[in-house]
Point group: D2
Chain length 255, copies 4
């Protein structure tokens, strides 16, 4: 059994620090590195890519809307052709640092409002798919199972990788319980770790209504934006390792 652990990294900006990248890079196997449009500046990207390569973590492009003030968390009703170009710009910029660090960008994962938009928004989903296809059609894309984004990516011939969320409650239909609902976010590290192990083993987890639910995913998303988040990520990694699960990136790094 094997699974990938991915996390958002490189989200500091200038004088503003965010997240404990060093701690996360010692835990995860894939780093979704921000590309400067919603978070991350060139120096942050350089440092994050250098550390990722040093730690054997695969670098992915965490692309988003150009919205520093909103951290990419606000839907922008962009022209799809412009969105394709904005994504191309971001991947290329990050790739510069990945290459200087000795590897390269190995996958793409949209961020925030863009991630959520392309679960349903056909035009924007197609626009991001087109950007990946143009940049390098061999790059896998990471996203929500059942999303328009992964469907269109597959149709375009891209490799799709599905992710589960370690600390989020699921509805019986397999979608995430919205954050504003009670119980939407799980807080007990050992419960979360156990639940991740069940997902990896193909065993059902408990949905928000108590029913049993199968989640199929090749990667699990963990967070690192608070000391508690880092502890939880560590608990997940430790539990999986102890159970003999191989923590390995879905995209192989440069050798």
């Amino acid at each position: 059994m094997r699974i990938d652990l991915n996390s958002d990294l490189g989200e500091s900006y200038g004088n503003w620090e965010l997240g404990d990248d060093a701690a996360l890079l010692a835990i995860v196997t894939s780093a979704n590195v921000a590309c400067g449009f919603h978070a991350g500046d060139p120096t942050v990207l350089r440092r994050t890519c250098d550390q990722a390569v040093e730690d054997g973590v695969v670098i992915g492009a965490q692309v988003g809307y150009r919205d520093l003030a909103g951290f990419g968390r606000r839907f922008i009703d962009m022209d799809p052709a412009e969105l394709t170009n904005e994504v191309l710009y971001q991947i290329g910029a990050l790739d510069s640092f990945a290459r200087v660090a000795g590897d390269r960008v190995r996958y793409v994962k949209p961020h925030g409002a863009l991630y959520n938009a392309i679960v349903h928004h056909e035009e924007q989903a197609a626009a991001v798919v087109e950007a990946v296809r143009l940049y390098d059609a061999r790059l896998p894309v990471l996203g929500l199972p059942g999303s328009v984004w992964l469907r269109l990516a597959a149709e375009a011939g891209l490799t799709v990788v599905r992710e589960a969320f370690a600390d989020r409650a699921y509805t019986p239909q397999g979608t995430l319980v919205p954050r504003r609902h009670p119980g939407a976010v799980l807080h007990d590290p050992s419960e979360v770790a156990e639940r991740c192990l069940r997902m990896v083993r193909g065993e059902p987890i408990t949905a928000s209504d108590g029913s049993r639910l199968h989640i199929e995913a090749e990667s699990i998303c963990v967070h690192g934006d608070s000391p508690g988040a880092v502890r939880m990520a560590r608990a997940v990694a430790d539990r999986l390792s102890a159970a003999g699960v191989d923590l390995a990136a879905f995209a192989a790094p440069e050798r």
Copy 2:
């Protein structure tokens, strides 16, 4: 005899248009394409790269300070390490579009205040050299003869390309007459064209004090930000071609 003609392109931004890129691309052999930090947005970069490749014009990265409001024309006293990273970011971003267009970034030319700063500023010059070296040490760099920038680039093993300015008066020492001085900018297309031909032939031109001056350059910079500028660029290209000068990029495009 051969010479390269280079010009700044891709300097529009969103709803704001600047310069007649289509006209210039029919004249020049090398396009210094803005990279989004002082001018140019992703859609402008995409379009400019596509047209450049279509017209057989070589794409270079016109890198600058991150200063849209100032169009990169204001010196910023940046940390050199951060400057290296900002330049890496810009080259990578532009390269994305150059590659999608079927070619790639083939040289680097700093813009505006950065161009002027690194004529003398050792740390910033070294920072830009380091960025090019890290990105791809085979990329030539374009700049002012006698600048610290070209000296350090050569010392780092980069190929240096010297440029002359078609429409600017020169001091007897071979530096540009500052723009605020009378006669700093030449306005007569046929005089400018004739002068360019003299430079290409290795013949002396007349300096601002009437003395004779030899300018050695592998490229001539022309402008396209006004109808008059385009006419002058056209006059230069026509005069050189009529005299049997081969207008050819110093960096070969992809074949």
Copy 3:
């Protein structure tokens, strides 16, 4: 009979020029001056306010989404409380220049995608109303007749001013024919001028289906982003003046 003529001004940014502000300021009675979030930089705002006061034109705040790259023309799904604050910021910034010029901001008109959004979007409309109310509840607001924006503004006790568009076709229901439809934009200056006169006189104009339509408005919006637009604005102003219509701002300038 009297009418106000309003136009978008101050939309240049740094090195990028847009629109013929000087020509428009000689024609209109109210200047919707951009505030720096989607267009306009501090120096542009200063110059525009100075010229407006010199020409006796009333200054209004053309507030928009923070989106320079998109010129404020893309809907952003912002938190309403944040939108209120962004509008407060913009009005205050512009007011600084209006006051230095000897007057002050005298009304508010949302721009682009924000203008369009708050025709229907209750939360964003209420957010902009709240900003005006907090800044100065005596400021009139300018907008589309029938919009949620004007309805909520009136309910909040603000003075509402309705505008008509000089060069746009109307549906039989009195809404604008979308730009992508044929005939959406009128191009004949004398026809447009005549039509404006009919609106001012309370006479029906011809809707897109040939039916007769009454448009009630206290202001007419004209454009200045091309030589043709300026000619049309001039034609409208001349026709109205010749017919004895008093061109006067709805908001009185400082005396």
Copy 4:
């Protein structure tokens, strides 16, 4: 005896938090609130102004270069006329929130590289003075004793307020020991507090070479960007209060 305590506040931006504003507002008497050009977004400004007024703290405009990526800490060689306009823009924007909170901007303190530049840079110092004079010539300005900034402000008829730094070592000449030198920053709260008391009492402090130095200041700058910084600010305020010093803003808030 009385003294003002000032601190930089409102420096968070979007999703990025910086400093413990709530803790500082319970300690200081004057809040230098960032204005959005180098730090602070509209929602941060609104919240900071509201809390300042609630806590009886006077609001000042912390104006800086337009440089989010560099946090305003990099010198920008701006045109002085543009700098005047950028400062006017910032003061007006902040004033919007100060007024909504029930007070108004009551002084101006430049930030970061601008603060440092106008210690010596005549043109930029004059540009900031001009902005304050144009906005409201009754606004006091806060700065370094002996700076060109305070000299030109005084010559322009503005009220100048001198500040001392609680935790910085001074040279025998009364200038700050550069941060890169050993001993430049003091870390012992009780030593710092005692030193502040001596300054307030007009007693000499010990300069970096052991000599005695008199510092004349109407305000002391304290920091709040770390738990240790807040403890030190608290220690300074407590020591001064215990010694009977009246902690009071130099500019009176609205009553």
